[in-house]
């Protein structure tokens, strides 16, 4: 039981780590990035190839993946999102969806649909806490996720730049009237959110397989976490991610592993039913 909760907690931190980038972009720029899972996939391939070709451990390639993904995020914003600024929201959503499909198909062509795996990395192994045995990569990824959310939280809620972000999120027109460069802020948010998923993706490769559709495995959970946490609420997305991990683990332990996914969506439905704006949503 205790072991189930502990593994659930760390799995939840990993889901949260995938979700924070998505929540950040959604919260500030108002765009749901349906290519988020595929950004994760790109980050995993970056780490995979760095290890396979250059023997760079995923722990070291995490910053590299963050930079690469930051650039991808910037390109996505500059080439796709910004030109569509005045288009109806549905068009923007479909555009990110299309971007995701293109990335996935390109990965299929470039990397083949094979499942790839890293052999043992620095993180491989397990950690024993009394009766409980946990995978070390999961624990490290969870801790990094926690650190990442703290940093992002400080950035958004504790700095002058963060206040500009919030202003843009609140009212774009008013923000530009007081001299905030909205375009630049949006681009920065896309870079930051994508860099966050870059770090997570690189660390994931130390315990998860890589293939072109791997984004779908975590992407859906990230969307649920963000929607359940509430629109625009970073801590909400984080806590929902953790909640998902624990609910999943408890269902698997107490009921039946086959019902894990169903239990997540049941909780999601209940939250939406009683609190449509999400657990921490502002509106």
């Amino acid at each position: 039981m205790l072991e189930a909760v502990a593994t659930g907690l760390f799995n939840g931190l990993i889901y949260a780590a995938v979700a924070v980038g998505l929540a950040l972009i959604w919260g500030i720029t108002d765009v749901i990035n349906f290519a988020h899972g595929d950004f994760l996939m790109l980050a995993m391939y970056v780490a995979y190839w760095l290890f396979t070709l250059g023997h760079v451990d995923p722990t070291l390639s995490a910053p590299v993946a963050a930079c690469v993904l930051g650039f991808v995020g910037f390109a996505a914003y500059a080439l796709i999102i910004r030109p569509l600024q005045r288009a109806p929201p549905m068009i923007v959503i479909l555009a990110t969806f299309g971007l995701g499909l293109v990335l996935r198909q390109l990965a299929f062509i470039a990397f083949s649909p094979d499942y790839r795996n890293l052999p043992d990395t620095w993180l491989s192994g397990s950690i024993r806490l009394g009766e409980i045995s946990l995978g070390r990569p999961q624990v490290v990824t969870g801790v990094v996720a926690l650190a990442m959310i703290v940093v992002l939280f400080k950035l958004v809620y504790g700095t002058r730049w963060g206040r500009a972000l919030q202003a843009v999120a609140e009212d774009r027109l008013a923000a530009s009237l007081v001299g905030i460069p909205c375009d630049r802020v949006n681009a920065q948010v896309w870079m930051l959110g994508s860099a966050a998923v870059g770090v997570t993706g690189a660390l994931l490769t130390s315990f998860f397989y890589v293939f072109p559709s791997v984004g779908a495995v975590f992407g859906l959970l990230a969307f649920v976490a963000v929607a359940m946490g509430g629109f625009g609420a970073l801590p909400g997305a984080f806590l929902s991610g953790v909640l998902i991990g624990i609910v999943e683990a408890l269902t698997g332990y107490l009921v039946e592993p086959a019902y894990k996914t169903a239990s997540i969506f049941l909780i999601f439905l209940l939250v939406l039913w009683y609190r449509p704006r999400g657990l921490f949503g502002r509106w």
Partner: protein, 418 residues
């Protein structure tokens, strides 16, 4: 007008005359395989295997010794008649396969059908053969229900999924150094997994073993921690897995990270024999056991298997015989031998000859079976699977005994390599 009619009549007469003479020296067999669509690559390999079998029957190959059925001079009891195979493309779809089966029987006048790889397509195509009273030989489909329909014209040379689970139990009986009483089965909740679990449940009882945990999971999940914890908590002697590649990888990594090793880790084929699994996770799971229909070390067992493999490679652009193509090749040889023994192209005569098939292990050259003999439902009761163990980067046969080449195997209990 009159002229035109005459010409047409003459043409018809000619065509009829042609087919009449051809029927004397050529036996037409219809083959249905997925030659286009998602399974096209498998389909083309199977087609190559069937063509190789036909070549062995029709053309002399003095270099080959002891391949029963591979006479090289056609069918002796039919005056040296040659076999001609008419291929039809099912596109991997049951309804298209069905239409093609009708066409092959009604328009191409084939004397027997062979195919169709996928169980779902075999199901519809064999139903047409049953209705029309044409013998049907199925070399590759493994769904147990195909031979539970009470068909009169249906014969299956390959062992089915239940046989395979039965084989697992027989293999476990041979393990004396570790207990094998408590069995856990971990399976993805699809047809493949659920059928595996059901069969394990049934055969375990017959072998007076106990299923201590039955753990279904949904494929493509983000973590398998709960599944692994449940498995570990049940403390099984044997853990049987029915998983495809991605989940197989995740299970192996998760169990290893949490330091749990089932004493006997036995897979039901699928993900555990995937080449990526073997090359990338393989080094960490040395000692994992799997059920299979075919093993690469069979090539070194009998020189003739290697010869056949070389012939197949030359025709297929470098691809080796595998569990699928080898079964097609074997099936075609069995069918041709039956037609030869029937000494006739009459459907009933061929059916009776198939039903009377009685081949020993030595007469079945390619597949590692105890022979071919069909039961009342048309299932080959002498077919069997193999149990392989992963050692030094590849799978080696450990059961049945007579195909085992390394006497130090199998190594149990299972433990993780550090």
């Amino acid at each position: 007008m009159k002229n035109l009619l005459t010409v047409l009549f003459a043409a018809c007469a000619l065509a009829f005359a042609n087919s009449a003479t051809a029927a004397d020296s050529v036996i037409r067999i219809g083959a249905i395989y997925p030659l286009s669509g998602a399974l096209a690559s498998t389909g083309s390999e199977l087609k190559g295997a069937i063509e190789l079998a036909v070549d062995l029957i029709n053309q002399p190959h003095p270099e080959l010794k002891g391949v029963p059925g591979a006479t090289g001079s056609g069918l002796a009891h039919l005056g040296g008649a040659k076999i001609e195979v008419v291929f039809a493309d099912s596109q991997g779809k049951p309804e298209i396969g069905q239409a093609e089966a009708e066409r092959l029987i009604d328009q191409e006048h084939v004397v027997a059908l062979i195919g169709a790889y996928q169980s779902a397509v075999t199901k519809t195509t064999s139903r047409i053969a049953e209705q029309r009273g044409v013998p049907y030989l199925n070399p590759e489909s493994s769904s147990p229900e195909l031979t539970e329909r009470g068909f009169k014209w249906f014969f299956r040379t390959t062992p089915n999924d239940e046989t395979f689970i039965g084989n697992m139990m027989q293999f476990l009986d041979t393990l004396k150094s570790v207990p094998t009483k408590r069995i856990a089965v971990v399976y993805e909740n699809t047809d493949f997994g659920v059928n595996t679990a059901k069969a394990v449940e049934r055969f375990a009882k017959q072998a007076s073993r106990e299923v201590v945990a039955s753990i279904p999971y949904s494929a493509g999940t983000a973590s398998v921690n709960s599944e692994t914890q449940k498995l570990a908590a049940a403390k099984p002697d044997v853990a049987i897995f029915a998983s495809y590649t991605s989940d197989a990888i995740l299970f192996v990594r998760t169990m290893r990270e949490t330091n749990y090793a089932p004493p006997v880790l036995l897979a039901n084929d699928a993900g555990f024999i995937d080449s990526r699994f073997v090359s990338e996770v393989g080094p960490q799971v040395q000692g994992v056991l799997t059920r299979d229909v075919w093993a690469n070390d069979l090539y070194t067992m009998k020189p003739v298997t290697k010869q056949l493999n070389d012939m197949f490679k030359a025709r297929s652009g470098g691809k080796e015989l595998n569990g699928n193509s080898a079964r097609s090749l074997q099936g075609m040889l069995v069918l041709a031998q039956a037609i030869d023994r029937a000494g006739s192209t009459k459907p009933e005569a061929i059916r009776q000859a198939l039903a009377a098939t009685d081949l020993s292990a030595d007469q079945v050259v390619i597949m590692p079976w105890a022979g071919v003999k069909f039961d009342a439902n048309g299932q080959n009761e002498r077919g069997q699977g193999l149990i392989l163990q992963l050692v030094d980067g590849g799978y080696a046969t450990v059961w049945p005994e007579r195909y085992k080449q390394r006497q130090d195997l199998p190594t149990v209990p299972f433990a993780w390599k550090r």
